[in-house]
Symmetry: C2
Subunit: 219 residues, 2 copies
């Protein structure tokens, strides 16, 4: 990883046009070739960047980065303050926990928390416009499509509504009702859901973890 501190100005010309006036910034060049220009603030997002793959060419104080899509980043170095290079080696990467996929797993293992007598038919039930997270049958053996979200918002209700449109065209399933399951359900999602006949259920992730059968963290 090459780290450059320099007084520079930067132009990006690609999906949009953007220009950075002259100032002192960090230019980070990673081993895969991606370039990022950082100011001393503004969260982790760089002011300007160019992802790999790309080609960096240096002509004196003007550095040009172009990618196969024809996007161009032009960095003009007015004053080079520091230029260092480090060998970082391969990174083992990030282990994540708590995302939607895990919530879906837990609900698949314990569908009864979605409603009394719920049984799982299958996960990722396919439709023409994409897979439904869970397909269940309720206590009365009626089909229920379940959309799992970390946060239940309007978009989740719309998505489930589109799935129901297709599922209800299948005579072996219809009528299919919908349940949006989320750790937090926004009032707007609940309102739109009520309007569309979609039930919104808040799920206690930690409690659900506790009742999981093949629990790994017993201690």
């Amino acid at each position: 990883m090459r780290l450059i501190i320099a007084r520079c100005s930067v132009d990006y010309d690609g999906r949009l046009a953007a220009r950075l006036p002259e100032a002192v910034r960090l230019i980070m060049i990673k081993a895969d070739g991606c370039v990022a220009v950082h100011a001393d603030g503004g969260a982790y997002k760089p002011l300007n960047w160019m992802n790999a793959p790309n080609r960096l060419s240096v002509q004196g104080e003007v550095w040009t980065v172009v990618n196969p899509a024809g996007e161009k980043l032009t960095i003009t170095i007015h004053e080079l303050i520091s230029d260092t290079d480090y060998e970082l080696g391969h990174d083992p990467g990030l282990d994540k926990d708590g995302v939607e996929a895990h919530l879906q797993e837990l609900l698949a293992a314990s569908p009864e928390v979605l409603g009394a007598g719920f049984r799982l038919v299958r996960r990722e039930y396919p439709t023409d416009i994409g897979p439904v997270d869970l397909l269940c049958r309720d206590a009365a053996d009626k089909a229920v499509a379940v959309e799992v979200k970390r946060r239940g918002e309007i978009a989740g209700v719309e998505q489930l509504d589109r799935y129901l449109l297709f599922l209800n065209q299948d005579q072996t399933l219809a009528p299919v009702r919908g349940v949006l399951a989320a750790q937090i359900v926004r009032p707007q999602a609940r309102a739109l859901g009520a309007n569309r006949g979609i039930e919104c259920v808040e799920i206690d992730y930690d409690a659900l973890r506790g009742i999981e059968p093949d629990q790994t963290k017993l201690f």
Copy 2:
């Protein structure tokens, strides 16, 4: 801006739990206090981070960053390879061009590219669920709601459909039809639009720029 190269392991515990095994990485600490841990690849996004505002406390080799929401980032330094600090000063920031706002401006100035005889009623026409980008009247003096997007996708059709639901409840406007205007219209958006009676129009941004009346770049 403080730049640290170190062999470290990192734990994040907050909205989710994530763990980075021991490896050599860049730790970037900006003037506003935000912390980012970068590997030598993977675009500009750090492996782990904590945005400002937060509080960094150092106890030997264990660095802890906590924010007001109770999220915690724990960095354990196994080997410090480099630790430098630079004064970057204030950044003048980025000038952007080509985003949706500009496209909306241009269309407001030249509504006829949306359809023959189109006239602008107003921009950001308010409804109970948010403002419609443009409200126009067509050659037959019928109301037309226009949603402007850089890329026309399903979500844009859904959004416009919600607006139309509300606009058509206003007897002084109804019937209102909808037009989705975008630089590129995805086939799925066009299909859903056809189903909902919403027309999708592709806009040539560069051409539209050329016909803008108060053009600044005449040379």
